[in-house]
């Protein structure tokens, strides 16, 4: 778990850690080398199956470390976020709110029963990843947060038997 509030390279320059250009990805990975929480960061990211970004010195895509020899395929990372290759600016600008939406949903989902939580987080993160605009993602997440209490009630309701 990353210590919140610590002065880490990734909190100073979050865009770099979600950049598309291989050069930027390499810079981000280099900044991880000295990081005090590097190992824990990578472990946590793998456990959470982070959809993308540099975590603990490795580039992750859809929850797995991208082998170094394959990293010359930034288009893959781009399409994971439904962006045209070359729209680096868009990726950079959108990176941190995206993380915020995801974190917010993760926190909101704490209201849900434990057994259902992971499934819905994965489902919603997936939907977030396919939404094209920052506004769209933000709207999706905020609305879901407001719906979370009724979601929690529905999921805790006694399961009824299949209608005959």
């Amino acid at each position: 778990m990353i210590a919140v509030g610590e002065d880490l390279a990734c909190t100073r320059e979050p865009e770099l850690f979600f950049a598309e250009a291989p050069a930027d990805v390499e810079v981000a990975k280099a900044l991880c080398v000295e990081c005090p929480v590097r190992t824990a960061c990578l472990e946590g990211a793998l456990e959470r199956r982070e959809p993308w970004g540099v975590w603990g010195g490795e580039l992750l895509l859809r929850g797995a470390v991208v082998p170094r020899r394959k990293q010359s395929v930034p288009a893959d990372l781009g399409s994971a976020r439904q962006l045209a290759p070359g729209s680096k600016a868009a990726v950079n600008r959108d990176a941190s709110p995206d993380r915020m939406s995801r974190r917010a949903l993760q926190l909101g989902a704490l209201l849900l029963p434990r057994l259902a939580r992971d499934r819905y987080i994965e489902e919603w993160w997936g939907e977030l990843a396919t939404l094209q605009t920052r506004l769209g993602r933000c709207r999706f997440a905020v609305s879901l947060l407001f719906g979370m209490p009724s979601m929690a009630v529905e999921l805790r309701r006694r399961s009824r038997r299949r209608p005959a």
Partner: protein
């Protein structure tokens, strides 16, 4: 008597959209777009309908989403029973609206459970 989710207008919209092609699979965001309802409204309805077994869900096959380079989706579809119940519930709600033209008209819905 089969239990039934509350037939709010939003629930009716979701069911109507799902019934347009009862065998088609859809995902949450698609339902938001089809009904024009926000995610915070659609997902609790989906959760309720799934709990009642009117709809069922599955994760997308890896071949599909990996080739498209995005995370896997959760797909929903009406169950056979669910489609039947949904049609009946919509019909009842429709009749209810028509006959409740008088003010404060609280028409008992035949067969409504909650």
């Amino acid at each position: 008597m089969a239990s039934e989710p509350r037939m709010t207008l939003q629930t009716q919209l979701v069911l109507r959209a799902a019934l347009e092609d009862p065998t088609r699979e859809w995902y949450g965001l698609q339902m938001c777009e089809a009904t024009g309802l926000p995610s915070g409204t659609v997902y609790p309805i989906i959760a309720r309908l799934e709990k009642q077994h009117w709809i069922e869900s599955r994760w997308e096959d890896p071949e599909e989403h990996v080739s498209e380079g995005r995370p896997r989706r959760r797909y929903y579809t009406l169950t056979e029973d669910g489609a039947e119940h949904a049609r009946l519930a919509l019909a009842r709600a429709y009749r209810g609206r028509q006959t409740s033209a008088r003010p404060w008209g609280s028409i008992p819905h035949p067969g409504s459970a909650s």
